[in-house]
């Protein structure tokens, strides 16, 4: 194998942290959703790399399921965002502060 597994882990860590930072600092819900997709895709990079390293298909199987879960998440998420946009005409998270303790 030409590329050592540690390179993949570093790449996935960078993608994952980009995703976390995106969720925490961006205010547009669509961008937040994209950042969460980055987090899940970082997971997929890890799984494919480890699966290859261990010669074990369990990791690849996980990737298929993770992709399915991500797709389902986007479907539900976009539906919620459309409902929100209808009521507020905005998809900025700072606009949604109806409830505060």
């Amino acid at each position: 194998m030409a590329v050592p597994v540690s390179y993949y882990v570093i790449l996935s860590a960078i993608v994952f942290i980009t995703g976390i930072v995106g969720v925490l600092i961006r205010r547009n819900i669509i961008i937040i959703l994209l950042s969460i997709e980055l987090m899940l895709n970082a997971t997929n990079i890890n799984f494919v790399a480890f699966s290859n390293y261990f010669h074990n298909v369990a990791g690849q199987v996980f990737v298929f399921f993770a992709l399915t879960v991500a797709a389902a998440e986007v479907a539900v998420g976009l539906a919620i965002i459309i409902a929100l946009y209808r009521s507020k005409s905005s998809i900025n998270v700072d606009e949604f502060q109806l409830m505060k303790w």
């Binding site: 899940l40 890890n46 261990f54 074990n56 298909v57 990791g59 879960v69 919620i80 009521s87 998270v93």
Partner: protein, 499 residues
Amino acid sequence: MTFSLTLTPADLLLMLPELFLTLWLCVILTIDFSLPRFPKRNLAYLSVLGLAVVLANLIWFDRAGMTGTLFNHMFVVDRMAIFFKIFIVVTTILVILASIDYVKRFKFFKGEYYFLVLMSALGMMFMASANDLLSIFITLEFSTFGFYVLVAYLRDDPASNEAGLKFFILGVFAAGLLAYGISLVYGETGKLVLSDIAAAPATPGLIIGYLLIFAALGFKIGAAPFHSWIPDTYHGAPTPVTAFLSIAPKGAAFAILLRLFFISLAAFKPAWVLLLVLASILSMTYGNIVAIAQKNIKRLLAYSGIAQIGNVLIGLAAGTKMGGDAILFYLLTYLFANLGAFAIVIAVGNLINSDEIEDYNGLNRRSPFLAFAMLVFLLSLAGVPPLAGFIGKLYIFIAAIKEGLYVLLIVGLINVVISMYYYLVVVKKMYINEPVDNSPLTVSAPMQAVIYASLAGTLALGIYPQPIIDWVVSATMMFSHIVAPATAVAPSTALPFGG
């Protein structure tokens, strides 16, 4: 490595409750869209009928001692899984009965509501059986998808939309953490089945992986410091969904936590006890102190729920079989008391269209039954004898004392006193304050059934807990190998909890 999958009908029998429920929820959905004139109320009774069959099936499994694993140990049926499935099905039945009046207020999608509730219940039943990191991830997401939609179900209500948004963003964020944590654990061990990853040495990747998994599950159960979604989501969601969300997913997540900590992480017990002690103290103290300031009954119950989860974590921190028994028992007491309290919030909300604590003034004059039931449920949540909550708290504190966790005992007792204060404020408003409006309130039949069932559960578990204690003790028999090194003495038989 190749996967070999050999399935016989006898193996599939282990999945009978899930297979039946899958079939049944398809039937519910088909009836809903193909027979538009079919009364939606009957869909609720049809759902309850299906769940009753599942419940009977699970009780049969429990009596017959049916156990086994499927799909390369991804799906396990043992007595603990059956316990949690019964827990989830009972919760779902009571929630559906409590929803019937509330669903009448929906402008559309009345039938799909029952479908989504059943689908979430199905996902949680799979969670109770998850024995592999892959099935943990899938089942956790499966059960949560239904809840994302249910929380945002009141499409015209901005509060419900906002609750859905907050729940969704934090939920998928937790899913991302969980998936990444699992990938790190897989990278360090090359395996996914919980019992296979137990032998791995502690490496930095493994520790980070487990911490991420714990954070995701902590989000799921709403333990501090991962609780930030709870108050707003509980407040904005339709009240029956709040009731469901506050009980069933917690039980299912504790099934996963018990397996993860007691099977995979048994060797690292000294390390995680500290983590759980901190999470428990933080949850109890934060939940109880913030609950004092609440004006809305749903928010009050949300914060009290965070504190209750802190109590349950004491049992996990004890890390013994007795701790596991105490968790199971406590969750049952929490099920009846919390569901009962929410049933009354639903009933009162349907009648006076308000969830503010101020509007509970003089509830005793308007409906002595509702006020008395609420009193019983709140006292059980606070842990007053002879109600269920008292035995639950006692059981969990004894498990902590046996492990020498006196800090948790002291913090727990202080918190019992704090929680007594805000529960009694509600009681005072119901019994002493004068009502603004004196008109009597009447409760519908299905709601009465839910309240009576919860009252019966709360009283029975408090007055005669022995059969249930025997049941939970036998349900966690697989953890009997976990003996604390410090206290290898046999549990005292003078207590009712001879484990």
